[in-house]
Amino acid sequence: MISYIGRRILAVIPIVLFAIFITFVLIRISPVDPAEAYLTAAHIQPTEEILAEKRKEFGLDQPLHIQYVQTVMKICRLDFGKSYLTNEPIIEEMTERIPATMQLAVSSIVLAIVISIPLGFLSAIYKNSLIDKCSRLLSFFGASIPQFWLGYLLIFFFSVKLDLFPVEGRGSWQHLVLPAVTLSLALIAIYTRLLRSSVLEQLQESYVLYARTRGLRERTIVAKHVLKIAITPVITGLGMNMGKLMTGTIIVEQVFSWPGFGRYFVEAIFNRDLPVIQSYVIFAACLFVVCNLIVDLVQLYMDPRISLKGRKDS
């Protein structure tokens, strides 16, 4: 089991190296010269001398493989370089903005769990009842509605018409409600359906039949046995949908002018702030991979048979 965990953790390293490699290659094959992009973003008139100086400063005169190794070494030291636009270290600008994004992401995950677990569970137990139909309809719209549009619809109804919540910005808890709801609907849609089908699957298992023949109350069977096992796919879903959550924060932050990391990324794209774009993409890949790793480990804790399966596979 420990060797399985160790192997899983070690497997993260090549993925991160590859992520850095991809962004590195993309920047090098792009028609944009980083030195020129820097001067444009910093509003400096480019002359041959300044360009040459900047190329030297960015290490662009070095051979490619040395540039790559240098990039990797810098990122290992958490040195992402400086923003072209503000000339501030990116790591500082990141740490300023990440709490806002975390607040948004965590509250929408909590909201999604609080709503989808009872909903998914009840719609499986009371299959084809009114609650099941309502939850299906909700999942259906949640999966098909564009997030930015949903955000504006909520602003229109709850801020413009009813004047209940502020339109944009961050501050009080009222500011958090609409962005968190917008972000969580897609997650609610997925988790509710996942949990529903997983509970239905478990109810067909022989241990449920055995528990029933032993005369256990249906409520005990479901609460004590089925739920614990049925929840595992939902945890997997949580990990697999981290990417959706991350892109969701980019869009939702833009809609609600939420001063987070995603907005920083979009601004960087418009300003051609290459180091910021690179840092965000690498950061997103690392977070995505680490979240999947954590999910794997949680699953392992809940179902130790997985490590045996893992061993057989390799």
């Binding site: 993925i15 590859f18 992520a19 490699f21 991809i22 962004t23 993309l26 920047i27 792009s30 028609p31 944009v32 084809n128 139909k133 309502c134 299906r136 309809l137 259906f140 999966a143 098909s144 509605i145 564009p146 997030q147 930015f148 549009w149 504006y152 619809l153 602003i155 229109f156 413009v160 997925i190 996942l194 879903g237 697999m240 949908n241 981290m242 990417g243 959706k244 991350m246 892109t247 980019i250 869009i251 833009q254 990324f265 979009v266 960087a268 794209i269 418009f270 051609r272 290459l274 774009i277 690179q278 965000y280 993409v281 997103a284 890949a285 995505f288 991979v289």
Partner: protein
């Protein structure tokens, strides 16, 4: 309508209804220049923000452009680009997936490690990163989406090919002297294509949402070209006085995405293809 979504999803009728709806959208997209009552990009400030009338059935926007014409034209980009990505991603995926699966060995290992590397990114973040590095624009968005999406098809196709390879008819074809290329073309591709097309239908909904999200952020289609996501972006400034400017294009996206999702699910239930979450 709510009463039996479950049974409806499996029925042939759903497939027919969704297909007709999507076909209708496709016809609109193709014939938009002929059926639109007005020029979608013609600015006329004298007519700005007019309510619906006989001349402008859905009113006009902040630059006096006809909303209905812009909505009709908007379908061209959303559906056109989604279809382009669908075809190219499946095409590249088929090529790489069958080669990796059929040849195995180091070719397989290299190709699959590459795919896994790309899959280590949340897909839209990588697309946005590519667009950020190469600069905003529709062309860049299309290329970025293609570069990222084929990977998922390649992985699935490779898995299918690996299991198909064990089957007798492939062995028989090999023994009878068919070349690997003939086997891939005549035996493997016809077998993997139907389930992949079903999965692709489900992915179309996502592709349309991704394209409109990128345009909404200002990374894809540039003004004045009409596109639903970009129209929502422009319409949001008038949310207090003219909410319909952002509501209509959103409804169009919703309708198309629902049609693709329902069709995809109905097809996958009917043909027993498992959905990837």
């Amino acid at each position: 309508m709510i009463a039996n979504i479950g049974t409806v999803l499996k029925s042939k009728k759903t497939i027919v209804v969704c297909s007709i709806l999507l076909l209708l959208f496709a016809v609109i997209a193709v014939f938009a220049p002929w059926i639109s009552p007005h020029d979608p990009v013609k600015v006329n400030l004298a007519l700005k923000l007019k309510p619906p009338s006989a001349e402008h059935l859905l009113g006009t926007d902040h630059l006096g452009r006809d909303n209905l014409s812009r909505l009709l034209h908007g379908s061209r980009i959303s559906l056109g680009v989604a279809f382009l990505i669908f075809v190219s991603a499946i095409g590249i995926g088929l090529l790489v997936g069958t080669i990796a699966g059929y040849l195995g060995g180091w070719v397989d290992a290299v190709l699959m490690r590459f795919c896994e590397g790309v899959m280590a990114f949340p897909s839209l973040v990588l697309v946005m990163g590519i667009v950020g590095i190469f600069g905003p624009g529709l062309m860049q968005v299309v290329l970025a989406l293609m570069m990222v999406h084929w990977v998922y098809y390649a992985r699935m196709i490779r898995t299918m090919v690996v299991s198909l390879k064990q089957r007798e008819f492939i062995t028989a074809a090999r023994i009878s002297g068919s070349s690997p290329w003939t086997i891939i073309r005549k035996h493997l591709i016809p077998n993997v294509l139907p389930p992949i097309l079903v999965m692709g239908t489900l992915e179309m909904g996502w592709a349309i949402m991704d394209i409109s999200a990128l345009s909404f952020l200002g990374l894809g289609v540039q003004p004045p070209t009409p596109e639903w996501g970009a129209m929502i972006h422009e319409g949001k400034n008038f949310i207090r006085s003219h909410p319909e400017l952002m509501i209509f294009p959103g409804l169009m996206i919703l309708l198309v995405v629902i049609a693709f999702n329902v069709l995809g699910e109905a097809l996958s239930e009917r043909y027993g293809v498992k959905r990837r979450y």
